[in-house]
Amino acid sequence: MIETLVVPLVKIAVLLVGILTAVAYLVLLERKVQAWVQVRLGPMRVGPHGLLQPVADVIKLIIKEDITPARADRWVYTLAPIIVLVPALVVFAVIPFGPETNVFGIRMPLHVADINVGLLYIVSIASLGIYGTILGGWASNSKYPLLASLRASAQLVSYEVAVTMTLVSMILMAGSLSMVEIVESQQARGLWFVFAQPLAFFIYFVGGLAETNRAPFDLPEAEQELTGGFHTEYSGIRFALFFLAEYANMIVIAAVATTLFFGGWLRPFPSVAALGLLDIVPGWIWFLLKTFVLLYVFLWVRATLPRYRYDQLMRLGWKVLIPLAIANVIVTAIAVVVL
Amino acid sequence: MEPAEPPVPPSALPKPAPKPPAPKAEAKAPPAPPGPPDQAPPDDLARPDYLAPLEQACPGGVSQVSYWVGDWTLIVPRDRLVEVATWLRDTPESRFDFCSDLTAVDWPPRAERFDLVYCLYSVPHRRRVRLKVRLKDGEAAPSVTGIWPAANWFEREVFDMFGIRFDGHPDLRRILMPDDWQGHPQRKDYPLEGPGELLLEDPLEWLKLRNAAREAEFE
């Protein structure tokens, strides 16, 4: 009973709370990192160094008036943020945060579920989030959000192809769709896949930036052009849900990248015995550390680069990344067969 | 706006009654006009080299030449403006290819109450000249947007502020004031106080309206 019901439920609860907290602090981190890059201080007022700022933000967003525009499609308008958020959270179920570990005397794997089509599951669930984007823009009954949501969905669909292609080459490397087995395969080879597949990682990362609408691909939310993007008309808690989903998606991208390319819970250089000292650090800490570094790169990129234009973005996606990804898959397949 | 846009046919614009061009002598004739003195250039000053060919090419195109604090001004009759302007732009010795500014000045008591002022600049020769056209109230000026596209917004602004129409302008709308504004604020007889929405061309009219409104308030 405990094994089948209570443990998964507890895991889910811990995961949800963890993610929501992580999102809140990721927002703070983003503001802080940007501020440091831009010779500012960032939030400083709420709590020491603004550490309680997320709490204040959450309270503000919850108690703000929740406005539905006139002649908006009320049902769809309400549903859209939920549609965006749910896939972003559900994806975490298959991400392995660490190897089997003893937690309070119970030996358990540090993931909610290990399904044999894990990677495909992530891709397919993540592709559902697009509905929220499109419908949110459409239901607002306003031109700018509509334009932005069309952009967002076109962007998402085109970059999904490239990202999925890189995942295919990773599947070829690992010979499995299960997230746990992919990590184990890296352990068996004693090699993080990023060193075997740097191109795939690059494409995945760029595609991930584009899929989460991050700079330099933040066109759907380009406030200079579209005054805020598909959620322009949203306010209060529903806006908060969109916001939450965006940052949760960032974490998903970083966590999946960690699992696929950076050996998940493995320590650096898992094959070098001389570094065995590093094993003292538990696997999940390695995992979180790597995810954090990747997230930091997300923020860093945003503070540095200007924004692509819509057609340039599409050209980059279709004419550069997708051909590269397909070539990478072919080369990988040949290599896997030959070696 | 580009000149390529189809211009409104001149017939679409309400035309004032056709008037004979102002006689040359009138420029100085009326007694003590409250207007710019338009001083004649001193005799010992060399005249710009494009003046003689201009007068040759467009006889009667320049009704008066004036010089003041280093600026040359050519006063041009209304119906010769396009001809003179085209010559000034295209002829190699003048080449006034840059329309620096276009504005108007209102001198109400004068019969031809408006001065249209064209400030031109020649990029190759690096010098300036001003053209001046005198207009009666209600008279339309020929548009120079075909010569200098830059004049487009200037003419709109003059139309907005002075109510001077430009024949052949592609897009003559108000530019700074709201589209439904009454009156033309830069005219000297424009009332300086009162609610803008009620301002009419005739201040007396406005006074009547205001008094009526006040009376209504008391009742």
Partner: protein, 380 residues
């Protein structure tokens, strides 16, 4: 046909269908730099036509000036291009001086030049920051404003104000330089020269920046002249035209500086031209400080400023382009009979519909940025 706006009436009504969408950009829009309103007709994301609607900031400065006396108008000119108030002051004062035939002391001319060039730096910094931010590089914006603060500090030390300086008088200047000010200006010039390198590192060779600005809003030199482009955008189209060189005013004749000229006439060239102007401005400032003559800063000015009857037009080079003043005096009253400004932003903005046609919505934002307008000046 009695419609006062014949053109609006004869325009073909806009068609709405799958292909064309009419959107309204502004007057409340984060990247229209104030209260500019654009009506864009889009085919997908491509701009088919654009109409510029201005006047939201119209305060009637020209009309107001007709009931202010000659000294009070300096204050009004501050409110036009509020990013470059000192340049406006200079243009106005020089025009009145020209009308009255006043002689301005040499020291005052030098200080005026320094202030004008500092103002050019400040204005260009604001331009670079907002332009980069429009294209998505937020960091550059904050870096630029950091440097602009230093200019504002210098102005504050000189005249006590940070934005609307009222820092010139007809016939000279209100005050001499504070002690030690020139040293601070030199330090500032060194800082700017260093920081320009930073900006160039962030933008000039950045692939995204290149793709966003190259071949965007191309305009040929002949077109630019005909359309009334002025200032850096005109020079970026390859036209050597700078009032500072062509019709020297203040003390510009005495300094050596170059006029950067572009070739392609696109947004990238406009960026490069302005970036080079930073360097030329610091060069002028250093020369002016080195050769600063001694003497009074106020010339012999009658107690009552009342120019004789007559009219004149005088233009100077503001950071945005040629700012001209046409002033008519009737020789009797204490205020100008007609006060007219030729606002460079107004003339440059006129070209915008031509520039944006055929480009994408995102480019519209970049193009508004590249022509560097200040709505306070457009609308007056």
């Amino acid at each position: 046909m009695t419609d006062p706006h014949p053109v609006t009436a004869t325009r073909t009504p806009v068609q709405f269908d799958t292909d064309e969408l009419v959107i309204n950009m502004g007057p409340q829009h984060p990247s229209t730099h104030g209260v500019l309103r654009l009506i864009l007709r889009l085919d997908g994301e491509r701009v088919v036509d654009a109409d510029v609607v201005i006047g939201y900031l119209h305060r009637g400065i020209e009309k107001l000036s007709e009931s202010r006396d000659w000294t009070q108008i300096v204050l009004l000119t501050d409110r036009m291009d509020y990013v470059a108030a000192a340049t406006n002051n200079l243009g106005y004062c020089e025009t009145v001086e020209k009308l009255m035939g006043l002689e301005v002391p040499r020291r005052a001319q030098y200080i005026r030049t320094v202030l004008a060039e500092l103002q050019r730096l400040a204005s260009h910094l604001v331009w670079l920051g907002t332009h980069a931010m429009d294209i998505g590089a937020v960091t550059v914006f904050l870096y630029c404003l950091r440097e602009r603060e230093l200019v504002l500090d210098l102005f504050e030390e000189y005249c006590g104000a940070r934005l609307t300086y009222n820092s010139r008088r007809v016939g000279g200047l209100p005050a001499d330089l504070p002690v030690g000010w020139d040293r601070k200006v030199r330090e500032f010039c060194d800082i700017v020269d260093q920081k320009i390198v930073d900006y160039e590192q962030l933008l000039t060779q950045n692939r995204i920046w290149l793709e966003r600005t190259r071949d965007i809003g191309v305009i040929s030199g002949a077109d630019a002249i005909a359309m009334g482009f002025c200032g850096p955008p005109l020079r970026a189209s390859g036209v050597m035209r700078d009032v500072r060189k062509d019709e020297p005013y203040a003390a510009y004749e005495e300094f050596a500086f170059d006029i950067p000229v572009g070739a392609a006439g696109d947004t990238y060239d406009r960026y490069l031209v302005r970036l080079e102007e930073f360097k030329q401005s610091t060069r002028i400032i250093r020369q002016a400080l080195d050769g600063m003559p001694e003497g009074p800063v106020m010339g012999k000015v009658p107690r009552l400023i009342k120019p004789p009857a007559g009219e004149t037009y005088h233009a100077i080079e503001s950071p945005k382009g040629e700012i001209g003043f046409f002033i008519a005096s009737d020789g009797k009253s204490l205020s100008p009979y007609r006060f007219r400004v030729r606002p460079p932003s107004f003339c440059n903005l006129q070209v915008l519909p031509k520039l944006v046609r055929g480009h994408l919505v995102a480019d519209v934002v970049a193009l508004i940025g590249t022509i560097d307008i200040v709505l306070g000046e457009v609308d007056r």
